[in-house]
Symmetry: C2
Subunit: 382 residues, 2 copies
């Protein structure tokens, strides 16, 4: 059988879960990992260890593959352009991916397209920040680096010009661009995960509620409980507008704020995303299978949920390092629990896995999922 | 994290699907394959290529692993005993596995335990066969080699003593033991897949109907349509009796004949089995995850079906070798179809994959699953 191979850049847990989806598809992944023992490198045959910032390394991984895709958005845009120019099918393409790499590019483009965003401004100095704060209704405001932030890193809630000073100075010293955003008075955070193929087919998963703590996603409720139908439609329309406007291929996750008036786009990711991990167990087609189908320009699978409700909770590294012992207890206590571990060394606060439960009743599902996640991490002992 | 590793002997599609289950469990598989491009060898990091009939090779694969398990039942029993004697946790153990390797051992043991089997006899010559035929109600009878048969190989339906003659001569020439069984007048074939852990926990999947053509499983309906509750209980009791009697660990599949009076055991497999492939998509815990949990003596997962009905159809190699082109068509036509391909070269009649669909209505599910399987193999063109 002559099935295509996919070059996959980055060896984190997303790449690991892509391998789980690639096996039944019969699609071979060719991985570029940072280290030989990266999460995904543990579970694949074709692993190259190297630097994703090196163009020749990227070319070597692409060799013999039908398409190149990504576990993260850190590959330099100029390399992606060089690869695309030399005939490598890069998906998502560099002109799309820049909007997941650079928040200034993202805000400019979405605003120009009329897609609802928080008020924002590029910040060059204390004066431009003070001007924005006045215009946006006063302090606090959110300062973000345009590039390189994730899981709450590169984001500061600043209460005053004085508090912003070290952030501005630090960014200037490191040559980082900054933007400011209004602090949105949101009811909750939502996310829409969809996939879009080069052919233009789009498949959208049910809108979910995400719960963040300290900038890190902790919990996803799918679908978002009690979401009004009109609001769900609005959220999906916004996500589809983003996908079309940016010509995305593969999975796109659009994180949003739900406010009294509607939804505002918070962040974008152009790869499988934590807010879609519930789909492995909870949807007919997982976001990982869907991403592979999309980047290969295969027809997309059904994004239908397989149960009325699913709850996913991330397992963060904690005091406990012998997770296996705790694993037994969780399995014994809840035979319907789906545990996903990423093969990562335990470090405090690091995402080392997630758990998913499905059923009807959010309250009971949340108790089960949180109990398992807290028990695995060592936060509780019984 | 110090998670256990599992030594896995045999690189076929069952091993490949075990890897799919091992990834979220965080369990590392260490594979012994016949060839570097075996189905499972394509999707794992730790692959040794060697001969499973060589004890030193087996020892090398077991090194550093918590347990050894199998994709097939062909590892010589004396090697399994030697490994067990030297402290390797072999699961299923040699004293159980012999009953999946040797049909004479299986029939003797089950008959002694009062587990319902077809009438059978060990056959040493034409006279013992003639005697059995007379006793079993006349010709035809089924002749089987005690060892080495699969997918209809090593099984003959013989209509007369004359027809049996070349089979007896061939077996004598090759030193093979034979047994004869009555041809059972069955309504249909059923299978019970269960898992049993060393601790003694058992989890049983719903009883399924299997449809064989030419000795090869083609289709599985889960649960078996229209099965009377009492009959389902009887089938489960028989399978649990087999598992307990033989002290099985891991997945056990018991293939049965359903007759007017009850069920009779046909064949055993002590590994994930084709009659359980539907569980990947259709049950809370797949048979592959369950097998790993069982051999690691982890608590077992829920075997509950996730939909009222599932239909699995095997994809056999046919005239078409460009399966990928046909893949697109199947995905486009049926977005809920779950396709599983094994990365195998297409050869006529070879199992190269399977498809599963889930829903409510067997008639419609069967049309969808058969259409996809026939289209993928090239048996139909639209």
């Amino acid at each position: 059988m002559t099935f295509p191979a996919v070059a996959l850049i980055g060896g984190g847990q997303l790449a690991r879960m892509l391998q789980q989806a690639a096996i039944p598809l019969g699609v071979r992944l060719q991985l570029l990992a940072d280290r030989d023992d990266d999460s995904a490198a543990q579970v694949m045959r074709d692993v190259q260890v190297g630097d994703y910032r090196d163009l020749d390394t990227l070319r070597a991984v692409a060799d013999g593959c039908a398409v190149m895709t990504f576990d993260h958005e850190h590959v330099p845009a100029e390399h992606l352009r060089a690869l695309a120019d030399s005939g490598v099918a890069v998906r998502p393409g560099p002109d799309a991916l820049v909007h997941a790499q650079d928040k200034l590019a993202m805000r400019s483009r979405l605003t120009a397209a009329g897609i609802p965003c928080p008020r924002w401004r590029r910040i060059d100095d204390a004066a431009s920040l003070a001007g924005f704060a006045a215009e946006a209704g006063g302090w606090p405001v959110v300062l973000k680096t345009a590039r390189g932030g994730y899981d709450g890193k590169g984001v500061w809630l600043v209460e005053s010009a004085a508090e912003a000073e070290p952030v501005l100075a630090g960014a200037a010293a490191r040559g980082l661009e900054l933007l400011a955003e209004e602090r949105v008075d949101f009811a909750r955070e939502l996310a829409v995960v969809l996939a879009r193929s080069p052919y233009g087919q789009v498949a959208v998963y049910p809108v979910v509620e995400t719960v963040q703590t300290g900038g890190i996603c902790r919990e996803v409720l799918a679908p978002a409980p009690g979401l009004r139908a009109g609001r769900a439609v609005a959220a999906v329309q916004v996500a589809m507008a983003v996908a079309g406007e940016l010509d995305c291929t593969g999975v796109l996750a659009v994180e949003m704020f739900e406010t009294a008036d509607g939804v505002l786009v918070n962040e974008l990711a152009m790869r499988p995303h934590n807010s879609g991990h519930w789909t492995i167990d909870g949807a007919v087609t997982s976001q990982f299978e869907q991403h592979l189908r999309a980047v290969l320009d295969l027809p997309l699978g059904s994004p239908r949920a397989r149960a009325p409700a699913a709850v996913m909770v991330n397992v963060l590294g904690g005091a406990e390092t012998d997770v296996y012992r705790r694993y037994l207890h969780c399995m014994a206590g809840d035979p319907e629990l789906k545990i996903h571990l990423y093969g990562k060394e335990v470090r405090p606060g690091r995402k080392i896995g997630h758990v998913t439960v499905m059923g009807n009743d959010y309250a009971r599902l949340r108790v089960r999922a949180w109990h398992a996640a807290d028990y695995l991490s060592g936060a509780i002992d019984g």
